[in-house]
Symmetry: C5
Subunit: 86 residues, 5 copies
C-alpha cells in the first residue's frame, strides 16, 4: 500500500456503469520525505476530503472486495485516512 494526499475530484460523465454514484479522487502519491511523486485515481470508501493523507490499496481483487462485488473495473481504493506515522 502507498501513502497519498487527496488533490481533487474526477468528473467522468461518460463511464462504465460501475462508477455511477462513486467518488473518484485524484490522489498525489506521497514519498516518505513528504514530497509528491506521481498520482493515482482511486475510488473513495472512507469519506476522504481534499488535503487528507490517505492509505491507497492499488490492486483489483482488493478493490472489488471492498464493494462486495465479484466484478467491477476498478483497481485503486482509498482504504484509510492516515493520522500519523510514528
Amino acid at each position: 500500500m502507498k501513502i497519498a494526499r487527496v488533490a481533487g475530484t474526477v468528473v467522468s460523465p461518460v463511464s462504465h456503469p460501475f462508477f455511477e454514484g462513486k467518488r473518484l479522487l485524484l490522489c498525489d502519491l506521497v514519498d516518505t520525505d513528504g514530497s509528491t511523486q506521481g498520482y493515482v485515481i482511486a475510488v473513495d470508501v472512507v469519506d476522504a476530503g481534499v488535503g487528507d493523507e490517505v492509505l491507497i490499496c492499488d490492486e483489483g481483487s482488493s478493490a472489488r472486495q471492498i464493494f462486495a462485488l465479484s466484478t467491477g473495473p476498478i483497481r485503486a481504493v482509498i482504504v484509510g485516512i492516515i493520522d500519523e506515522i510514528s
Copy 2:
C-alpha cells in the same frame, strides 16, 4: 486508475481472436501537470476519440469483466471519458 489522452488507433491484423472487432487505442499517460509520460495500449468501451482525456483501468480481471468474459488476453481498458478534475 490513471489519466490518459487518446493519441491514435493500433492496427493489428495478425492477433489473438479476442481482439477481432475491438478498438485498440494508443493512449498517452497524462501527469497531473498536463504533461505526458509513457503510454498504454487499451481496449475502448466508451467510444473515446483521439484527443479525449480518458480514465484507464490497467488490470486483467477488471478488463475481462467489462466484456463479461471469463477469459481474454487483455489488461488495459478505457473505462471513462474525463470531463474535468476539480
Copy 3:
C-alpha cells in the same frame, strides 16, 4: 519479493474494518548496495520492529492467504525477517 527496512508505524484511525487490530508498518525499500529507494506500507505478521530488515511480498492474493481470508483489501505483507544475505 523485495528487501525493506522497517521505518515506523502508520496510525490510521479511520480505515477499512479489515485493518482493525493489525500493525501497518512503513517500510523503506532497500537496494542491494544498502541504500533505500521508495517505500511500501505493509501489514506485519512476523513481529518485525523498527530497524529490522524484512522480506516483503507485495501481491494481493498472497497477502490475503496469510490471513486465511478470501477477502481483505491488502497487498503488501512482511513475510520474513532477514538475517543475512550470503
Copy 4:
C-alpha cells in the same frame, strides 16, 4: 498492453516443463517516439519474427488463458503483430 520489437530468441534448456516446445522471445519495449526502453521476455503465439513490432500483454491470467491452461508459470505473451498506428 505495450508495444515491443522482437530482438531475439531465449534458449533455456533447464526450465519449468511448461516452457517445453514454446518460443520465448526477447522483446524490446518501444516508446511512442520509436525509441526502445527496457524489455520483456514473452511467449509467442502469433509466429512473430525478429524485427516485428508486436503487442504484449503482460499479465499472468491472460497469459494462461491463451494456452487454455488453468496453470503455468508465465506472465507475458505476444498477442498481436502491429501493422500501423494511425
Copy 5:
C-alpha cells in the same frame, strides 16, 4: 518475464512457514546490454547457482502453481536457466 543473474542466498530464520526448506535467492535484474538494474528475491525451482543467468516469472498465481499449492505468500520464482539469447 525478466532476465536476472543470481547474486546470493537470503537467510531468513523468522519467516512465514511457507518458506521453510525453500531456497530464496537474491537475483540482480539484467538489462539487454548486460548491465544490472534493480533486483528481486525469488524462490528457486531449477537449482540455479550464484552467477547463473535465469528467467524470472514475477507473479503470484504463477509462483503458487509451480509448487502445486493453492496458497502461499510468494510472487517471484526462477523458472529457467538461460543458456543463450540468439
